[in-house]
Amino acid sequence: MAVYKFKTPISEEEIRKLKVNDVLYITGTMVTARDQAHRRALEHFKQGKALPISLEGLAVFHCGPVMKKEGEKWIPVAAGPTTSTRMDIFEDEFIKNFKVRVIIGKGGMGRRTTEAMAKYGAVYGAFTGGAAVLAAKAIRSVRTVEWFDLGMPEAMWVLEVEEFGPLAIAIDSHGNNLFMEVQKKVEENKQRIYQKLGLSP
């Protein structure tokens, strides 16, 4: 397990250094995107429309934050990760089209995303589910909010972060997926548990 600290924009070369079980901290620009922002971004791409901000080399955070407005400024109150599997249907296209390097969320993602990450050079960093204050405190400022019509949780928040983490690298750019490995082990353990409890499978 190695600890890495990267600044955005992150290059493909840098991202390929990471292996599952490494820990990453990110400094720089990060955008939030949940289902609706993913859908809209991909629609824009299809129509040849530019996104409000180029995502190349940046981190995308699966997060529906609680923000508070003080005067003209947005202050993050709580900003923990949401379940990433919902974004599985969009993420391969998202990585391919926008060249994001880090996807941050909780719960892991599936085979399709793992393959796209290996092909285009990106990683999945698991941020501790529920650790919303830890996340909020690593956000230095809210640069802007795009697509606010989608509602506060679904909008695309552009954040400046400092040492955002710890991110457990759970999918690397070499086809490894820690969540799938754990799942496999769990299936094996299941038989031992059944035995211990005197159950037949």
């Binding site: 397990m1 529906g64 508070k68 830890l134 969540f179 769990v186 353990n189 548990i193």
Partner: protein, 293 residues
């Protein structure tokens, strides 16, 4: 002071306490898990959880951004007046907490998909009533997160399989849930009564502190057995592997129909938020889970 005013104030305080401060028993369980976890990835997650708990307290911010669906448990003394006003009062307290704490607006009309914006709506906040003797009121709030709620299950098991069937049901549910409910989790298990009763018992069992096993030694033994079994799964903190998958297992039951074996598992995430207070007939308030208040 009017009962309604006191209840509103206490309801508000409970919401605030619950979303910012984890109960002591949950904190202790997390610290113990951190000390004992052997998986590196799991330990990193538990450390982040403990750091987050501390930061939340220091900055008076909600522990998790999902401040949940607001559920109250009210134990009302039969002698308490104006019980018919409590629902309205707790709804007001919820509205105020949404703005002032703040809580994330989490109440959506299932037909129009419109968010009410203030954590209220038809039957929300939900109130579970229990009438007891005496003239004091005990109020408990459980802000229940969506991630762990999404994997709650209830099922009608085969009566002939008895407790064995139940054990399999629970282990399979935990494995199916995997990383989704933000493990380590607390499991509430409800048995008997009927489909609705078992899930209600399961959820209510989540209110029991982690250091209180079931008073019935045989059930306490079963709780321990299931606890050890689910921690053998290897799911670990946040599903990244490790030996801490559950922080506790609580069972409650009702008698069942001879032909039915209803069972339910309610999942609570590590952000196991709850707060309780008692209001006596003179209007004196005692905070039971968050004594520093």
């Amino acid at each position: 002071m009017e009962t309604a005013n006191i209840v509103e104030k206490v309801g508000f305080n409970l919401l605030k306490q619950a979303v910012i401060y984890l109960p002591e028993d949950v904190k202790h369980a997390l610290q113990k898990a951190y000390a004992e976890e052997t998986s590196e990835a799991g330990k990193t997650q538990l450390k982040a959880i403990l750091d987050n708990v501390e930061l939340a307290e220091r900055h008076q911010a909600p522990i998790c951004q999902d401040t949940g669906t607001i559920i109250f448990y009210v134990k009302a003394g039969a002698g308490v007046k104006n019980l018919d006003k409590i629902e309205e009062t707790l709804t007001k307290a919820t509205r105020r907490a949404t703005v002032e704490v703040p809580l994330r607006p989490n109440s959506v009309n299932p037909f129009t998909q419109k968010n009410s914006g203030d954590n209220t709506g038809r039957l929300i906040p939900y109130i579970n009533w229990e009438i007891v003797s005496g003239d004091s009121i005990e109020l408990t709030v459980m802000p229940k997160g969506g991630g762990s709620e999404n994997v709650c299950i209830s099922g009608m098991l085969v009566p002939g399989e008895g407790i064995k069937g139940l054990k399999k049901f629970v282990v399979d549910a935990v494995i199916r849930a995997g990383a989704k409910p933000c493990p380590p989790n607390i499991l509430g298990i409800g048995i008997g009564g009927g489909a609705d009763i078992s899930i209600k018992l399961a959820k209510k069992a989540l209110l029991r502190p982690l250091n209180e096993p079931n008073p019935d030694p045989e059930i306490a033994e079963l709780e321990k057995e299931i606890f050890e079994a689910v921690n053998m799964t290897g799911i670990g903190p946040m599903g990244l592997g490790g030996k801490t998958t559950a922080l506790g297992v609580h069972i409650d039951y009702a008698y069942r129909h001879p032909a039915s074996y209803p069972a339910a598992v309610a999942f609570q995430c590590w952000a196991a938020r709850r707060a309780t207070a008692r209001i006596n007939s003179a209007g004196k308030v005692e905070y039971l889970t968050h004594r520093m208040w």
